[in-house]
Amino acid sequence: MKSKLFISEPLRVGQIRKLRANKKGGTSRLVLIAEQDRRDGTYLVFLLNNMVEAAIPRDLCLSTKLTSAKYEIVLMTEYLARAHPEDFELESVLGSIDEKAVDRIRLIAHNNPFGKLPDVITNPDMRIGRFPMQKYDSVWQFRSSEFDNFLKLTYFRDQAYVISVDHALRSLRQFEALRAPELVDELPLDALFAMSRSREMVAA
């Protein structure tokens, strides 16, 4: 057993940590720290899970070699939100990723907000998920419940934008042409789900 007296490693970008349930409720989850805001000490985090079989093409399956964690991890690129530092479990760092790699993942996911993540992102230790999610299937439901839970664990400053789908939302607001119904099929399902929650657009 660990001693009650321990020196915790400070929170840093690239670390995989446990985010604990807070007063809003929720269940603890693993997250990857993507950015630290030095102004208020909060952190942007990606949600992680262990469901490699249920990783969709917007997710990245990270090998143990890359993360130095003890198991393979799925990074859900669509689930990025802000967490308070006091909600992290400080006792242990469960793995870490190079800061540059984290930036690259963010940039590519942000620049490609629709459909499958591009192959350029991959290397042998970072695979794009393959599960073909369909609306209301078990993976959709799983992700919906993960989304709800993640909202409880995190917060967002600007209520107008919901987690990482803000890019998709802004695009839809700015470019009227993107409201074309046929484009809805191309939108990431998580983005649509988030949009439906944000009362911005269709839940199709």
Binding site: M1, K2, K18, R20, A21, T27, S28, R29, L30, N50, M51, E53, A54, T64, K70, Y71, E72, S92, L94, R130, F131, P132, Q134, K135, Y136, D137, S138, V139, Q141, F142, S144, S145, R179, P181, V184, D185, F193, M195, S196, S198, R199, E200, M201, V202, A203, A204
Partner: protein
Amino acid sequence: MQDLWLEMKTEYELQGGLGKLWLAEIGRLAQQVVNKKILERLPPSIFGFPSWDKDDLMQLVITDRLLGRNQAQYVFDTAESIDEARKILRNEINFVLSDHRVPNQVDNVWSNLEPRLLELGWESGSLESDSESELHDQLVRLILSLKRLRNKGAQRLSPLFAGPVLGDLANQIVEIRPDLPSKLLIKALRTALTIISPSLSIEDVGSIEDSLELSRDSYAKSEESVRMERGQYGSRRHEIARDICEKLNPETLEIVFQKAHGANQSEIGAVLGLTRQTARYRIEEAQQYLLNEFKALELDIEESREVLSAMLDILGVRLSEVNV
């Protein structure tokens, strides 16, 4: 009594892995799953077991998942209470069962697909080896893009595709080549369904009833859904469709959803856990209810069609796949 999860964590740390407490807990969960399967009268052979024995299942869970993929460590790192740990462990058990079920699912789909292919004049032939892998990938993509029947992970062998969807698949296969070898088709099915299958077992999403409620809520509450669909159906039609959807109970919504995919009475029965006969009554009731609603609103045929289309869109049926 000390907190069980705390004791399990202590044991895990002291022993550097699974100890007696963990084995007992996994055993209990495996026994629950086995009991459920026995109650459902599922033959153990479906999952490759000679008999329903919790020890066999437990061994696979430990070797394949908890040790093989180090998921025990994940449970240890993530769970905050025994309930959370049990949830993840239950998922691990279901993943093991799904992994071992795959060949049966392929057999099921193939036995339903083959007669449709034969009807269209397909005959198993041979191929030049250089085109095989390309065709295989094409077929896998085709199978993965098919609309699946809902599976909430509660029914291990519920049908995966509605009859008409398989009919379309047969047509597309014959269009690609009318003499594709059966070996290649089965191989493509296996590849595609291996991806789909394990994910069907995710149980963290609640029971079937909960999920139906969730689906119902997710669109019933989505005021924003109006905006996009307004353009397509006109705002009044869409509002009517939403009102009707809000009035329907989850079971009726499921029936409408499944009917839109061309599911037959048996398939709808399987999804709802009803006999074919009961499913037939429920389908008739649902149809009658909708007709009455349309009648009460004094909608003509064209308007009724549009309202129904809007309802199906709200329910998540893509219009291109509707087969009513």
